[in-house]
């Protein structure tokens, strides 16, 4: 089994890990780095529960090989709260956007990636950005509302 030493930044922390070449970024985060906030819903890139921000872009961590994250900056849900909760987190909590919570980390990461590059998206833009994040509890309307409340449109 081929192993590689990779260097990456996870939530502003510099990390060095020796990883097997066949594990995903998702498995690296959850199993090696104990960052279990990012969830595994399907492991095939269809549900968005594993959404993280890789070099500024929202991606499904289950579709990225850990070795391909070498040299990259990764943001996970654990890194969203700094000294205080991020406005997205506060909005989600207060506006009913959370039910079982399993899609929540992925939703927040997709929303954050959107707002980081476009602080005033339209409803359509929000829906498009989060179209890859499934929510079986059906909290979509409240999630959309929670994000919309943070924009000035």
């Amino acid at each position: 089994m081929y192993k590689k030493l990779i260097k990456l930044q996870v939530n502003s922390e510099k990390m060095e890990c020796t990883v097997r070449n066949n594990i995903t970024l998702l498995d690296l985060l959850r199993d090696v780095l104990d960052l279990t906030g990012t969830k595994k819903g399907c492991d095939t890139g269809e549900c968005g529960a594993c959404t993280v921000i890789l070099d500024g872009k929202a991606v499904n961590a289950c579709l990225i090989l850990a070795v391909d994250a070498d040299g990259s900056e990764v943001q996970t849900i654990e890194g969203v709260r700094k000294m205080s909760l991020h406005p997205l987190q506060i909005s989600f909590i207060e506006r009913g956007a959370i039910q079982c919570g399993f899609c929540t980390p992925g939703m927040i990461m997709s929303a954050k990636a959107l707002l980081d590059r476009n602080p005033n998206p339209t409803s359509e833009e929000i829906k498009t950005a989060l179209a890859g994040n499934l929510c079986r509890c059906g909290a979509y309307n409240k999630i959309l509302y929670s994000i919309k409340c943070l924009t000035s449109k």
Binding site: K39, C47, F92, G96, F102, L134, R136, G138, Y140
Partner: protein
């Protein structure tokens, strides 16, 4: 509207577990890591029906990294199901496999990859048997016998109230329609899983994705042969339940077997593929409604016939079917009702509880036919429903007691919300290729659980509360938090009852070691049953506290009130003592801690009579009416839901925000999905569409506008008047869409999901009929 009637009840308090979920701190079963934990995987049958001649695990037993292998030989071969009288499922099959995905063996290894490799080295000798995948074929003489039943009929029921022959004779119009509801998957975003660990005292601790922690403890104890005192079930935070996690799943028992055999903690989690392949589904049903109506529009006679595809093993298909078949005569007043149903084994993946429990299936049928009746009589769909709906404080022909009932309010308010009259009178031009329509559907469902399972009288919930000397309270409830917000609601009830703030309440649920027993989350029951238990426990604690406070305040205990963290004399509020001080007095000066106990044993409902079916099996019923506005593309058959309007009678909205979340949530994913896009494609018993690309769930990009209105009927029995809403949220949605489609394009589609192919076929059929 009495907004100041309560300090906390009725307020939109953010859910108390929102923080941990929004920050990634929330731990689900698949996040649990214990020292030395092994990873387990289950070997599943690739065949739909076969004898197991031999299972050879010798190659695997000596593999490095494999710490345990289990087969049926490691079990007591005890069957399990929610309804034990028909139980025939085993944790691991010993004689036969009966569906593709059936459990045959399991391994625990140092990592998941090794476990999967080990599975491939287990040699199972099967003797393939002829299989049957259709309940009609399964009932034919000579069909492959799946269990011991003749013609694979697991269960048959027939009930009659009134005089059906006379009823049809007296009817002016008789309609007969057939409907079909497909196999549908729960698709909880978290695949099911379990962690089990045996500690040094030999006690088994199980972290389970379960909706029924206390019943699960009973089932595990029974199936594993371990005393209940040595089994602890902890309901871990769950990524959805929706009925899929009611009752033990084989994965729970198998994880325990692996932990017991290896002596190490074991975690088993399904892959998404396994979830689709082997998880319990919504029971597929074929429904025939023969309905007699008077020219006035009054329903007069109803014959309901259902054939349910049970799948390979029994779980609760009898109660789901029984629940479905009686709903027509429970929502509407029908003096003459005949019902009959058959539950049939097939070699398909088997059914289980699924949000709505038979009601989505039956109301798709009933509410579609109600619109047909309305059209036949040239009545507005709202009118026919208002005319026939049950009334509050009435009894149906089958003995069901309707208490609080807001169905008429729901219909009126949703009509107002949706501008019903105006939109019904609008018609898309006959040449337009995109046509709009609006349709409504109502429903009744239990809002307080039911006396349908486990014994003659079993719908209880229990709670305890400890008052702490700093004025906070620990509440213990056996209920399950699936994400619906029950912990928040129960904390609100406790805070209201004790006169405290929500942050003073520390609520612990679903740990069988610490919490008293509750039957769990199903039947939209927890706000009602667990809510009453928590209320009773807090009242008990308050009684004890008032004994102490009355001495300090020199007043009668009955004159005292607890509000705003203070205990005071009602008629003389200046005579008061802080809540914390009164408790401290009890602890430190009277030497007595304050512990409250509450048992709600549901004194109101009874099991239906086993011979006649007569009886009121639930203490409270929820009602709702939803309106769908759709656009149908005549060229592609594609249906777009533009707007959904929902009016739900929840008795009393303890937390209106959470109620709205349930309603919106039920509609936007499951309701619309069930109506338009979801179906498990099962070929020769194997689920083929085992991923989210091929099994179509609603996404953020699909959502329509949705407006809800909460109708409060203040139930006389529920806590602060509350009833359930979890299942009602998605029950009438598909029917409302079906009726909207009919309004748009004049075709009836009686087969779910109403996908573009079916819509186009129906359009073409109608056009061909018109031109002949």
């Amino acid at each position: 509207m009495g907004t100041d009637e309560y300090a906390i009840i009725g307020k939109n308090i953010p859910r108390i577990d929102g923080l941990i979920k929004a920050t990634g701190m929330a731990k689900y079963v698949s996040d649990i890591k214990l020292p030395g934990m092994l990873h387990g995987k289950i070997l599943r049958s690739p065949l739909a029906h076969a004898k197991i001649l031999n299972i050879d695990t010798t190659m695997v037993e000596s593999m490095p990294g494999i710490k345990a292998v289990v087969t049926a030989k490691d079990t007591f071969n005890r069957t399990f199901a929610i309804n034990m009288r028909l139980a025939n499922n085993l944790l691991l099959q010993n004689e036969k496999v009966r569906y593709v995905g059936d459990q045959v063996a399991a391994v625990a290894a140092v990592d998941e990859e090794s476990a999967l490799e080990a599975l491939s080295l287990i040699k199972v000798d099967y003797e393939e048997l002829p299989a049957v995948f259709d309940p009609f074929q399964a009932m034919e003489p000579g069909a492959p016998k799946i269990h011991r039943e003749e013609n694979n009929i697991a269960w048959y029921i027939s009930r009659a109230f009134g005089d059906i022959e006379k009823g049809f004779d007296e009817s002016d119009i008789i309609l007969e329609d057939e409907f079909h509801s497909p196999p549908v998957a729960h698709c909880c975003l978290e695949p099911r899983g379990c962690v089990a660990s045996v500690d040094i005292s030999g006690r088994l601790t199980v972290w389970a994705t379960t909706q029924t922690p206390h019943p699960l403890r009973e089932e595990l104890s029974d199936v594993l042969g371990i005393p209940m005192a040595k089994v602890r079930v902890i309901q871990q935070l769950m990524g959805g339940g929706f009925g899929s996690r009611m009752g033990m799943d084989p994965i729970d028992g198998i994880t325990c077997l692996l932990a017991l055999k290896s002596g190490k903690p074991v975690r088993v989690v399904n892959s998404r593929d396994e979830e689709f392949l082997s998880s319990r589904i919504r029971y597929p049903m074929w429904i025939w409604l023969k309905t007699g109506i008077k020219r006035s529009g009054r329903l007069h006679a109803s014959h309901v016939r259902i054939i349910t595809d049970n799948g390979a093993y029994h779980m609760e298909g009898d109660t789901v079917t029984g629940s479905a078949m009686s709903k027509f005569g429970e929502l509407y007043v029908i003096p003459n009702v005949n019902m009959e149903a058959k539950l049939v084994y097939t070699n398909n993946v088997y059914g289980g509880a699924f949000r709505g429990y038979g009601s989505p299936q039956i109301f798709f049928a009933v509410e579609s036919q109600m619109d047909k009746i309305a059209e036949t009589l040239n009545m507005d769909p709202a009118e026919i429903r208002l005319l026939n709906a049950v009334k509050p404080n009435s009894i149906t022909a089958s003995g069901v007691q309707i208490g609080s009932c807001g169905i008429r309010d729901c219909i009126h308010r949703v009509m107002e919300l949706s501008s019903w009259k105006e939109k019904r009178s609008q018609k898309s031009g006959p040449q337009s290729s995109v046509r709009r329509g609006i349709g409504m559907a109502s429903m009744i469902h239990v809002g307080a659980g039911a006396k349908s399972f486990w014994g003659e009288n079993c719908n209880y919930s229990a709670a305890t509360v400890k008052l702490n000397s700093d004025g906070t309270a620990d509440v213990f409830t056996g209920s399950a938090e699936l994400g619906q917000g029950s912990n928040t609601v129960l904390a609100m009830i406790a805070a209201e009852e004790l006169g405290l703030k929500i942050e003073d309440i520390n609520i612990t649920n679903g740990d069988t070691l610490i919490t008293p027993s509750c039957r769990g989350a199903w039947g939209s029951r927890q706000t009602f049953t667990a809510g009453l238990a928590v209320k009773l426990a807090c009242q008990d604690a308050k009684r004890q506290l008032f004994e102490v406070a009355s001495a300090l305040l020199e007043a009668n205990p009955t004159d005292l009130v607890a509000q705003g963290r203070i205990v005071f004399v009602k008629k003389n509020p200046s005579k008061s003592i802080p809540f914390a001080k009164a408790i401290s007095e009890s602890y430190f000066n009277m030497g007595s801690p304050i512990i409250g106990k509450g048992i709600n044993d549901d004194p109101w409902s009874t099991r239906r009579d086993p011979k006649t079916g007569y009886g009121s099996y639930a203490s409270a019923f929820a009602f709702a009416t939803q309106v769908a506005e759709v656009e149908v593309d005549m060229e592609t058959g594609s249906v777009t839901v533009l707007n959904m309007y929902c009016a739900h009678d929840v008795g009393k909205a303890i937390n209106p925000l959470l109620v709205e979340c349930q309603i919106e949530g039920g509609v936007l994913s499951m309701g619309i999905g069930y109506g338009l896009t979801e179906k498990l494609i099962i070929e020769k018993g194997e689920v083929k569409n085992r991923n989210f690309s091929d099994y179509k769930l609603q996404t953020m990009a699909d959502i329509c506008n949705i407006k809800t209105v909460i109708v409060e009927t203040i139930d006389s029995r529920g806590p602060f008047g509350a009833k359930g809403v979890g299942e009602p949220a998605m029950i009438p949605t598909a029917a409302a869409i079906a009726n909207a489609i009919h309004n748009a394009i004049g075709v009836w589609i009686h087969d779910l999901p109403m996908n573009p192919e079916k819509v186009l076929r129906a359009i073409k059929k109608a056009q061909d009929k018109q031109s002949t």
